[in-house]
Symmetry: C2
Subunit: 746 residues, 2 copies
């Protein structure tokens, strides 16, 4: 089961560097060198295309197509329409011909190749020496960026210098709308450009089923004679010039990509600054980001680079610009998972935003609020009340076509309730709780209540599948029951605290009946807690009686099991995909004693095979809390470098965004011992062997708490209002002056 | 939930009669008037076609097409190719034009309509008085039969008589190969007739994917000038004659339908006797059938007609001519269930054949033997050993595309082991057991062992679905564990009794290892018996803790639940589709005490909603044994008239063959109290209120045992060797002399 690194990129604390291009890594590099700014994303493909392996992927956040789905059988609650993120036009398409030879790194002779992603400017640059057939050596440099300040802007700069002789050159800068969506094999755009658009060097494309328009406005600048080109789904400029020996020629483009969903107007064209201006803006954006969000690991360059790369990609993918967006499982870096956001956004991605960018965290919750109507419809399709949130989605409708997931998993909805609670507790955003939060909680509680059933012992959930997807149609799943109980109770508690006016508004919006909160409380109070043996909670009814297999002895070549085993074989034993009981304990750390955590960790960890890449972080965080540093470190393992070192051997398909978020969580919650409960932040940092110093910053109610951990002590310092925290169990108020706390030995 | 009769046909003890045709019943009548002779089947459609609602279905036993299936996900063990029975050519197509008016009962004026299926001759006749527009009144009679003696032959007779004037008449008798398969909307045959065939009035058709050839040879006889017609997929003769007033004209056809599967040769053309000869042969065939197989119910004409109709259809559909055939869920009467035979052939259909036609019972088992290779492949696809028999099939490969059935249900395989045992116990066919039986049992035991798992309590089956399909992915299902235990033990016991030579042969055929039988026995001995409370066995682990719902209170309009409920909702409560525990008790009556049966019946019956039409018979038989005559009768209910009175409102799609078989079982095992166990037949007949006399005959080891039950006593008489039976618990040897046993009051 042990995964191994496949190291390809150079170790550098502020950059990702690829030296001497290896075509075998072409697709993987494209993923790693992806840029995004939430509005859009572009894989690190070569602008000039050519014969190399490529997934020429550009994506626009929230732009998708729907697709009819014919379920295996025509049963109630089966998903009959799904949707997927589309591949958008390539705004960076470039053709370079020097001395009648077209640039193509699959066939041309070249050397001195370097590709660099600068994590401190967001600039992706690629340079090499092209040994042309007819015009001697030419230095070529491509640079690109997606503007963080102006998310609709993508910019490119091409710098050429002939070293040996003057060279006749043709450079074409195009927006190419003919790119096919790889999964369907089709280009999904229709060219709907109005005649007027042509004169403006604009291209308007429209999706078929959703009627979303993407308007591309292209501005190019280069020396030489030029000619505009316009064809169906294509727009561009061709420049002809002589590349004079030793004299640099610089070409630039800026493309504005504006999106209007069906029924919306395209907004006015924004300003289009030049490349240098955009780069300077990006640089100051990223410097500000690292100021508050950096995690510094001294003494472990691999993890230092890895965690910075994770944070760079996470912030690139999402920062809450648009509350109609969520975080796709592969971000905007590939077609994998159809661009869907999964239910675990709330449990795995939210904490990072909550402690670094609370406004972005709020946006994630507003996404669920804006899709409440879809969740209500879904509950109704399942013969249930209230709102049932989707397992996977872009637009809020359930897009997961496997009924055993979309009909049996309650965690999408209970996770939203969980997320509302941790958001409100950390930020004290009462306004959100009393309006949007309360409305969602009412609908979630209704769903949860209607999905459950009573027996003589109490209330529970039957025929469910918890996060541990290796057990299906189980009853009284620990995670499901526990999070269900929490959701019911939190909904009732929230309503109880509303003013009469607020309650009247919620009542009106949700047609709340007077008896409902008491019914939720009643179900919560009688929630069946699965039986326990020596502090170990049974994952679900009957789990303890399942045949045991030594999950760690399964040969490595049988993974992923979904690809190598008969499907039903996965469900017959006590092997876990991810640990339901431990996940509940991680999410609600104050609800369980250390003895309980220790007993359940000892019991469940050996039974888990981590077929979900999120599972190791749960184990790492709990192992840290349980003072098992070696295990914490071992489970932390490749968390920060999952994609950089291609541990899963599928980075080629795109980055693992939830895993990237989990890496942050593992460091901060695991090594930092950070928890938020009972209205107060607590910390218990420690340093893994080999680490000299760990620094991170948390944003709590507009105060920045700087944490520095070294071998002897933990230092805390606040920017903003003083903050009372619990450090190693002791309450202490932190101000602007650094407070150094000697580390306790446990 | 109560179903109701929709009486349409006249009550008659030897016929099914339809008087005054009602177009609203057109499709239902087509199903009811279906004929079959195992080789082929033809629905009771009007030969002349026309504008009425029709499913112009003719079917050839074992002739099917394969179809690629794209499962919801590409998981291991998911069925990727399925198959379906094709609709074959219409061998009875007829066109009748009198006085330039074409016969079509949708538009023509007619009266005195009668359609009759004679259960004692197998003749289907239809007569009416056609009031033609131009030629006065004409008496029309169509007759048809499928030869029971010569299964490749279908014959038709058309008799015409003009009452008012001479009438110019054109009669066309065709074989029409253009009939579309309704489910796919396509005609599935290619005309591959050789030139030579044309001169012989032959039509050769071939299926695309399976390459099966059906050769139609047509012989017609009629007065008048005639002309042959031949077109793509069509063959026929047209007769022109004057229908002289008062003078009967008789036209006849005989069609031979020969089938050759891919790679087989068409056999030589058989003899083609005339209609009268074929009718006489059929009459003697059916008289002989009723001699031994009749069930007589005096005092209850509805059930008398009903049970005779059931027996007629059951014997028509299957009598073991071809050990490559099985019994489709809708026989050869419609496209429903794609013509598939389901796993319950062994539990519901076999008993009838076992006690009336042991050779046919043997053929049913030989079908499983001939498809052992497919069952081995299926086990392998599921990562299992041995042989896994299919849930639904025509050719032995799994055709059920719902993974939750085809991957989780073990009962197809354990039912084959059960069937081998009851067949061998009843017939003492040791030769079968020691060769084909033993080989199947080895492979079934291997499958069963590899599908199970051990825990600290013993051996059991995990992640299964028993016959009660309202509980999925359950553990230690009572039925599955119990039948698994029986199969393992029976396999080991069977091997233990083989001679060294027989064992050597089986060892060679199955690569049996010496340790295997002991491993089966070990698993059987440690098989987990689900816990019991006050004699009630828990259906599966955790069943007793499921929320209870009052299944009987579900509104009638919500049935079938699969059509009206969210799919997952079906699985959350203690409601049963059919009763696993009671079914096991019915199949193994000697293994449970009366107290156990009573307790489980009392507990499970109210929880069952009988969404399977087979479920009521289980309840009826157990209720009879438990001396609950009213409940036995109530569950018996519509068993014999399910299709005749269209209780399920879907007789239009074809007959319910398993249900038809279950009707016999309910009478003989329920009212007759017939059981076979410990090498001896036992009986405990009783009469439901209103019945004056019940007679039936059982064939046991070449002896016919005639049973007559009246209000006072039960009379037994043997033809053949004397037979020792247990009557009302007392052993008694029955010879040729009638033995009258006064009924005991329980």
């Amino acid at each position: 089961m042990a995964k191994s690194a496949n190291r390809y990129f150079s170790l550098d604390m502020e950059k990702i560097v690829e030296k001497e291009f290896d075509p075998a890594h072409a697709l993987e590099s494209e993923s790693i060198f992806s840029l995004a700014n939430e509005h859009m994303g572009v894989r690190g493909y070569f602008e000039e295309g050519g014969g190399l392996n490529t997934l020429r992927g550009s994506y626009l956040g929230g732009v998708y197509e729907t697709q009819a789905h014919m379920p295996e059988s025509d049963y109630g609650g089966f998903v009959r329409q799904t949707h997927y993120m589309v591949t958008s036009a390539d705004a960076l398409a470039t053709r370079l011909v020097i001395g009648q030879e077209t640039l193509d790194l699959a066939t041309c002779a070249f050397g001195n190749f370097t590709r660099t992603l600068d994590l401190y400017t967001g600039l992706l640059s690629r340079s090499f020496l092209w040994r042309t057939r007819n015009a001697g050596r030419v230095e070529v440099r491509f640079e690109r960026l997606l503007s963080m300040k102006r998310p609709e802007l993508v910019a490119q700069r091409v710098t050429l210098c002939a070293l040996d002789m003057d060279a006749p050159t043709t450079l074409t800068l195009r927006v190419d709308g003919n790119i096919a969506h790889q999964n369907t094999g089709k280009c999904l755009w229709e060219d709907v450009s109005l005649p007027a658009h042509n004169s403006l060097a604009q291209l308007a494309l429209r999706t078929e089923s959703t009627g979303t328009t993407a308007l591309y406005t292209l501005r190019t600048a280069c020396a030489g004679t030029h000619e505009s080109l316009r064809a169906y789904r294509t727009l561009g400029e061709t420049y002809d010039f002589a590349l004079l020996r030793g004299q640099e020629i610089v070409a630039e483009r800026v493309v504005v990509v504006q999106v209007a969903h069906s029924g919306e107007e395209i907004p006015p064209l924004p300003a289009m600054p030049d490349f240098d201006t955009l780069l300077a803006e990006n640089t100051s954006h990223w410097r500000a980001f690292w100021q508050t969000c950096d995690v510094q690991i001294e003494g472990d360059p691999e993890n230092q680079q890895g965690v910075r790369y994770c944070l760079f990609q996470l912030h690139s993918t999402y920062r809450g610009l648009n509350p109609h967006d969520n975080i796709g499982a592969k971000g905007l870096t590939g077609e994998g998972y159809n661009g869907h956001a999964f239910w675990d956004t709330e449990t795995y991605c939210l904490p990072f935003f909550l402690f670094t960018d609370p406004q972005a965290a709020r946006s994630l919750l507003m996404y669920r609020y804006h899709t409440l109507a879809q969740a209500r419809e879904r509950a109704s399709a399942l013969d249930l009340k209230g709102a049932c949130y989707p397992v996977a989605t872009l637009d809020g409708t359930e897009a997961c076509t496997l009924w055993q997931h979309s009909s049996l998993q309650m965690q999408p909805s209970t996770s939203v309730a969980y997320a509302i609670r941790i958001y409100v507790e950390t930020t004290e955003d009462q306004a959100f709780l009393r309006h949007e939060g309360a409305e969602m909680l009412v609908e979630i509680a209704r769903y949860v209540l209607s999905r459950g059933g009573w027996n003589t012992e109490g209330f529970g959930f039957y025929g469910v599948m918890g996060p541990d997807e290796f057990h299906m149609m189980v009853n009284n799943d620990f995670y499901t029951n526990f999070l269900g109980m929490k959701a019911l109770r939190y909904a009732a508690d929230t309503l109880a605290k509303l003013t009469a006016e607020e309650l009247a508004l919620i009542t009106q919006k949700t047609a709340l009946a007077a008896h409902e909160p008491a019914a939720w409380r009643n179900a919560a109070e009688h929630m069946i807690v699965p039986r326990r043996e020596n502090d170990v909670f049974e994952q679900h009814d009957g789990y303890f009686r399942l045949p045991h297999i030594d999950a760690q002895a399964i040969p490595r070549e049988e993974f992923p099991l979904y690809d190598h085993w008969s499907y039903d074989r996965i469900y017959r034993t006590d092997m876990l995909k991810q640990p339901d009981v431990l996940m509940a304990m991680m999410l609600y750390p104050d609800d369980f004693t250390t003895a309980e955590k220790a007993a359940n960790y000892a019991y469940y960890a050996p039974r888990c095979i981590h077929e979900s890449s999120l599972s190791p972080s749960v184990h790492s965080i709990l192992a840290a809390e349980l003072n098992k540093p070696e295990e914490a470190l071992s489970f932390f393992g490749f968390a920060t470098r999952l994609d950089l070192d291609n541990y899963n051997r599928n980075t080629s398909e795109g980055l693992h965004l939830s895993s990237v978020a989990a890496a942050w969580m593992t460091i901060v919650e695991g090594f930092g011992g950070v928890r938020f409960g009972e209205g107060m932040l607590s910390l218990a940092p420690w340093l893994p062997v080999g680490w000299k110093r760990l620094r991170f910053t948390l944003c709590v109610r507009e105060t920045l708490l700087h944490v520095t951990v070294d071998a002897q002590a933990t230092s805390l310092r606040c920017e903003g209002a003083p903050l009372t925290v619990k450090a190693y169990g002791r309450e202490i108020t932190i101000g602007a002056e650094e407070c150094r706390i000697a580390r306790q030995e446990a």
